[in-house]
Amino acid sequence: MKKIIFIIIGIWFLISVMGCKPDPPIKNEVSTMDIIINHLFDTSDFELNQEYTLPSDEPVKFSRFAYLLSNFYLIDENEFRIALDKQYLYIDMKYSNSDFKLINIPKGTYKGIGFSIGLDSIINHGNPNQYTLDHPLSPINNSLHWSWQGGYIFTAIEGKTIHNNESFIFHLAGTQNKVDFELPYNFSKEDDAIHAILNYNIKEVFQSPEVYTIEIDGLSTHNVEDPVTLKLINNMKDVFSVSSIESL
């Protein structure tokens, strides 16, 4: 009888002690990547409402610079592209929101990172009202949706020319105008989060391969296939570069 009592007490003790233990940590094979995007005009920090001289020698001030990033992926050591699905960034210089986090980064050694300015067709033409107000693709949040056409503005650049005192407004959109980037950079992901610093050089949008002259090429576009859009989109292919990607 005594043995039975002690066995019961022992079981009670074990259950009560185990029941109060915190859950064991789950071994996590994925982590996060912090991304900071430095916006530059040539080598200077880019800010709204500051005067800059375009490659066309036109002094301008920008009042809006906003864009959407999607299709993030990592290139592993075997050249496989590992997609980071359903992760989008809305960058708007007005809100100084250039510090982001990507999730579900698998452990491994990588040779680069890829992403797009703009969206694939399904997302671009999906119902924008599915997103919560703080989602990067919420039209209320980003003011980058053409509701009447059912698509997003991928990049919005607005401002004024100094000499002619004319406002310019470039709303670049259209799935065919999505700009893809693949940036080589060796890094490894072990247990800690990755810290990536990317540079976006706004001057490039107006520089190469063809210099964009506002006075000649035009003050505005909202058209997915007019010459203004095509020239600016073509110039955007080299705007991004990697400053560093490190495991912290």
Binding site: W12, C20, S63, N129, Y131, T132, P139, N165, H222
Partner: protein, 369 residues
Amino acid sequence: MKKLFIISFLFITLLSCKDVINEIPQNPFLITPYSFSYNTSLLPPPRIPSDNPLTEEGVQLGRMLFYDPILSSDSSQSCNSCHNQANAFTDNNNQFSVGVKGTVGKRNSMAIFNLMWHIDGFFWDGSADILRHQAIQPIIDETEMNETIDHVIMKLNRSPLYKEHLQKAFLESTFDEKIIGKALEQFMLSIVSSNSKFDRVMLGLESFTDEEKVGQVIFNSESIPLKDEVDPNNPQNFGADCFHCHGNSLFMRREFLTNGLSDNGDKGLGDVTGNPNDNYKFKTTSLRNIEKTAPYMHDGRFKTLEEVVQFYLSDMNASSAVDLSDSPNLHALKDSVYLSPEHKKALISFLKTLTDESLLTNEKYSSPF
């Protein structure tokens, strides 16, 4: 002795789980989550403050406060006095509201609906960061209700009716400023408008008239400045370019923007931030129910929709308080734009499809007294 040891042991092991036992809710009162509906295909998921979830009891308390002149210094005015449901919660077509002392305000009373979808500040100048802060200001503003919060709290705490509702809604026994703000916030957040003809057409339940269809195209099309066109009657001069600032399903934008009005001494957001780049920027309000919210603009300077349309189609450069080159959102409108009389009429017909009659009569939003 052994029994005592065993009982003590069991007691000690039980005590080690105290935190779990304490997680059992201690309050026996029930709070009912507030249920509401909206057009989910047209409106995104709303944002409700995590520290002030809507409850039936909280919304009801806020509704009582909203309609009760107890909030004003002489018990003559309630929130409803300047926010009439029949006018989409604006001030009965008055340009400016008159406070309890007979003082005339300087801005037009703002509509109250769909505030669950607002992100960046309240009031025309964005001076209130969140809705509960906005709710308190008219009470203490001497040009409006001219009351003190302490006095309101005293009056409410003396009322058995309010104390009963306070207990039900917030499980508290005394009012304070935070609770008053939260209750008013809950009621104002609960006011939803998504049953206009426009909504029903989008759901395939009704159809636009031919005129309304033309108006929708005009609303959603860019204008071509007259200087670029030889023939002002060219159909390409079709757009009124409304969508840039009122383009999403809420017909508003989160940003505070300038719209080319002449200076009346009110710098709007600029007066709040002190940033010259914010001068003459005001909240970009929703065009839903615009038919019912006359007069228009932050200072109610336009009595009719016809006057508003004419303003946007006229040469704003001549009168604008700001250099319009600083306002790319007005790029397409900064030169005179032509719309034929028929097209102006069509545009206004489309705007009237945004009227939600059920908002104007819904008993959930009406006086509880």
